[in-house]
Subunit: 200 residues, 2 copies
DNA sequence: ATATAACGAAACGGTCCGTTTCGTTCAAGG
DNA sequence: CCTTGAACGAAACGGACCGTTTCGTTATAT
């Protein structure tokens, strides 16, 4: 819960400039609706009602549903994408575990699911998501660059591609409502990824 | 393209029983709309218009949007989920390559994307998708059972989990509009999965 | 002091929702 | 053979949300 109504009375213009109170109220209302009712309940009308804001105010600053959604998403503060524990296997475990915790405990999971779903309909959301993911892969790829420098991972490993591979499993779990992964299960998954499937 | 209008004139009741012509027309119209306009264009109204069907006829047989969507999806005929080439690496390559071709060349990709997106909103769709996936993992897990019998993959590998892992990468690519994977790239991905990321 | 822009509220025409009402066509059962 | 009942397409319903416009108010920027 991020709260519902900060000013009890009517909020109004503060002159010829954007009202940060309105902005906050709208983003908070949007997040609350998304978490409580999912993407199905997420409409501009509903956000406007809950935030006690006018629809034109929302449309002025967020021209589409997707931009508002992405703004809610970006307000979430994220986990460490490139932990440095000294070994690649624990790095990956830590990364995925942090991601799962972020999705499970906060509102991150519900919001991110919605962004992905929106991207299946709205090309702008799709593009924004792609750009965001590319950036994450670039940053997170650091754990593989370090591991390659240590001689720990094979030289044919492409850091960005490896990042994409190791995160795709938890993506799928997020989208199929099966985020209840125990640390033991996660360790097994990481083992699959690091050591491969071959017999020793 | 599955065509648009089979009977040029008005289609009517054939008595106190379901009219298969109407059923076909509705499913074809639904698929066409989905492929042409995506999930955003997919409404019961639009399907009824295009199929020259009454809305009550659709609601009678498909109580929700999700059930119609899933029916369209299930009409797609699918690829071999458990190829048997003799080695696990080529088995996996063949499996993923078939999946990519199915998604890229036919309508399978567009339809499946929509099903996943719908599952983020509709709990019924989510449940149906989960059941379908569990079944696919069970069937596809056969390639790992065979490989374990050959002593080719490690004995700690869980077939169903391994299936989930190897398919999650292409899932993510489907959902982020990046299915343009060359055979070389795919081979590299499979290499990641089979041999792991470690240095030899 | 005036021009300008953001604000919330209310209302607009339009689309889709899910349902009901109608006249029809025809299989099933007495 | 003839009545009953169910499925059919069409049309219309109230309701929700869309994206936009119109309004009176507020206060910054010039």
């Amino acid at each position: 819960m991020t709260g519902k109504k900060a000013p009890p009375a009517r909020r109004t213009s503060i002159g010829a400039q954007r009202n940060p109170d309105s902005q906050d109220a709208i983003l908070r209302a949007a997040e609350d609706i998304l978490v409580e009712g999912g993407l199905g309940a997420f409409s501009i009308e509903a956000v406007a009602r809950r935030a006690h804001a006018g629809k034109p105010t929302i449309y002025r600053w967020w021209p589409t549903r997707a931009t508002l959604l992405l703004d809610v998403y970006h307000r979430q503060k994220y986990v460490d994408i490139a932990p440095d524990t000294g070994t690649i296997e624990t790095d990956i475990f830590q990364l995925l575990n942090g991601l799962l915790e972020f999705w499970n405990t906060g509102h991150g999971g519900a919001v991110f699911r919605s962004v992905i779903a929106e991207a299946q309909t709205d090309p702008a959301a799709s593009k924004a998501l792609a750009a965001y993911m590319a950036d994450r892969y670039q940053q997170g790829g650091e754990i593989f660059r370090r591991a390659k420098a240590r001689g720990e991972v094979a030289d044919w490993v492409v850091p960005e591609l490896a990042m994409e591979i190791i995160t795709s499993f938890v993506w799928k779990r997020l989208l199929t409502d099966r985020l209840d992964i125990t640390p033991d299960e996660l360790r097994l998954v990481v083992r699959h990824l690091v050591h491969g499937l071959r017999a020793p």
